[in-house]
Symmetry: C2
Subunit: 377 residues, 2 copies
């Protein structure tokens, strides 16, 4: 793609609301460059609304402002055709709007140095309710850790609760993870997750958004953001969801895209599992209890090892082995954790420190315990 | 049916192993009376094995002994055609053997005064693992209580764990429940459940078996007993089951009978839910989370009130209302329980005493708490 195309897409993304279904219609018969040229020439263009034309009058200012904010935050603008562009997003162009949004984004703002295209080559969405239980958080972390160890990149929304637990699970086993935001990719949103988002980027993961830098999150943007999580992954797993949880919206997008939809069960006494159970009962999701079930739904078979880790080749990561070595109810000395994990105490100490930073392990009187806060920064 | 038929069936049940598939073959072309006549006349009869003929030599002694034991324990012998005979058992005659058993029983020994035919007119099986969790026990009790309140009789196997919890849930709301045993109906099996079985009978329920009085339970008889639980009910719910739990065998019988099969999910971290989750994943059971889901699977629709209680007509029982008034974490004085239940303190005190006897409520320092032991007598 040319610089002109990238710039035209940027301009259009700034004078419209990303996800507006009219953009799909507009670009069906023409290119972003042609639309912008017509606007620059003051010509009417079929499919361009008056509001967009009005906003276009300020296009240069908007572009300048976005570029400055992006540079300050270290964001880059990625468009279809770039080597970095993820597969799957174009499938959205064939879907009718849901809650007022559809379509492939004009482009994506990306924070982090990794290749978005590379990281999403094998990616699974792990999402769920903000107000999760500690059971849900633990399950999401473990699932994300195991999917990470299998070679998948875990995508989620960086929200409180299940989303954060999923990101942390991937980080705990040293695997990159991608947070897709409903606001600008420069924002630390939610604010309490600033450190989490930083760790995601530092660990070789990415923070992604179709919204311009500085854009604020509103309900409609969370809903349109969900379509990107579903479209950039080969399947979506919902870990906990109350009756009308927004995470079921991501499941719905995955279903409409023809991607496998999965739900983790929980106690029937838990309001946070009502939505997942209902999805299974309604045939909207397949029940999965662990990463092997997810692999099976992705057509990788019960014996499949997944796409395989770039490094490690199917061996469990030190993070995963150390997690498995810890216990909920009995604090262990470092030496015993190392023995159980089959690793040297020095390496294990470093891994435990990393797990503690993710809130997955805790040190009590010099001994180590498995720990999962329902939601921790 | 005639007394001769009832006696011939009794004789055959004593000289064979109930559930032996050869009995289905034998009675396809003839009647129990004709078979016994042939044996009495010393004639060979097609389908009658040498072992059966040998045992038949002692038939009079066996009948006498069974009658004495039955009289002592207050058992009666019910056969097909009796007003008391439950519907559905004949469907077993069309099924191939599973673990060496199939077919409608020759007759059933029944302990208790209620009509087996009447109680099984609307009956649901609630079964599960012996080594249940307290979550499973609570869920089974609540489900049975709600199904009881809806007008269903709960059938189960009186085993430790989920079975006992299901019986107790029905008892707690003052509804009859039926225990189907793998040994003689005169036995208190398991011994620790002697009081439970007595309460079942005292509360207008029944203890039932196809095995002669005095017969001991062995693994094969548990498996053949399961077919009766599945066949006497309109659907089977498994609450907790480990990977190869015997309760999945009941589910399998229900499935083969074309009756709805249902499974309650639980935490994916619980070994006691592995079997139920697997059954859902394999399409062998539909996920249900509460009695309304069960009603829906039984074709009674989401708004259905079930068959309706003979008395009470859809109103919740005092037991159910009192259970709902109690809390897990805050002990309440009698007056507050009564207020919450919308009942007089005198009535509520009596109900609480009954709930305490079932291990569902506990009194601490004069206040009342919800209580569920994983397994209690």
């Amino acid at each position: 793609m040319t610089a002109a195309d990238a710039r035209a897409r940027l301009v259009l993304s700034l004078v419209t609301e990303p996800g507006d279904p009219r953009l799909v219609e507009l670009l069906r018969g023409t290119t972003p460059v042609d639309v912008v040229r017509a606007l620059e020439a003051g010509r009417r263009h079929p499919g361009v609304s008056d509001a967009w034309r009005e906003r276009f009058a300020r296009a240069d200012v908007l572009v300048e402002r976005a570029r400055e904010a992006a540079e300050a935050a270290g964001l880059r603008w990625v468009v279809p055709g770039d080597r970095d562009w993820p597969r799957g997003l174009e499938d959205l162009d064939h879907l009718d709007p849901l809650h007022g949004a559809t379509g492939c984004p004009l482009g994506l703002w990306v924070r982090g140095e990794a290749s978005l295209g590379e990281l999403t080559r094998h990616a699974v969405a792990v999402v769920g309710t903000r107000s999760c239980t500690s059971y849900g958080a633990t399950t999401a972390s473990e699932l994300a850790a195991d999917l990470g160890d299998t070679g998948f990149t875990v995508l989620s929304g960086a929200a409180f609760g299940i989303d954060a637990a999923a990101h942390r699970g991937a980080l705990a086993v040293g695997r990159p993870t991608i947070a897709v935001l409903a606001c600008g990719a420069d924002a630390d949103s939610p604010r309490a997750h600033a450190a989490l988002l930083r760790r995601i980027v530092d660990a070789g993961g990415l923070v992604v958004s179709e919204q311009p830098p500085g854009q604020v999150p509103i309900r409609a943007r969370f809903l349109s953001r969900n379509r990107l999580i579903a479209a950039m992954t080969v399947g979506t797993v919902v870990v906990e969801a109350a009756r009308r949880s927004g995470s079921l919206n991501t499941l719905h997008w995955a279903d409409r895209l023809g991607r496998p939809t999965m739900a983790v069960p929980g106690p029937v006494t838990s309001a946070q599992s009502v939505g997942t159970h209902q999805a299974v009962r309604d045939g909207k999701a397949v029940l999965v209890t662990e990463h092997r079930d997810v692999l099976a739904e992705l057509g990788l078979g019960p014996e499949a090892a997944g796409p395989g880790r770039p490094e490690g080749h199917g061996h469990e990561s030190p993070g995963r082995r150390t997690l498995d070595a810890l216990s909920w109810d009995r604090a262990l000395p470092l030496q015993e954790v190392a023995d159980r994990a089959g690793a040297a105490p020095g390496e294990t100490a470093a891994v435990l420190a990393a797990l503690a930073a993710e809130g997955l392990a805790v040190q009590v009187d010099g001994r180590w315990l498995l720990h999962q806060r329902a939601d921790a920064t």
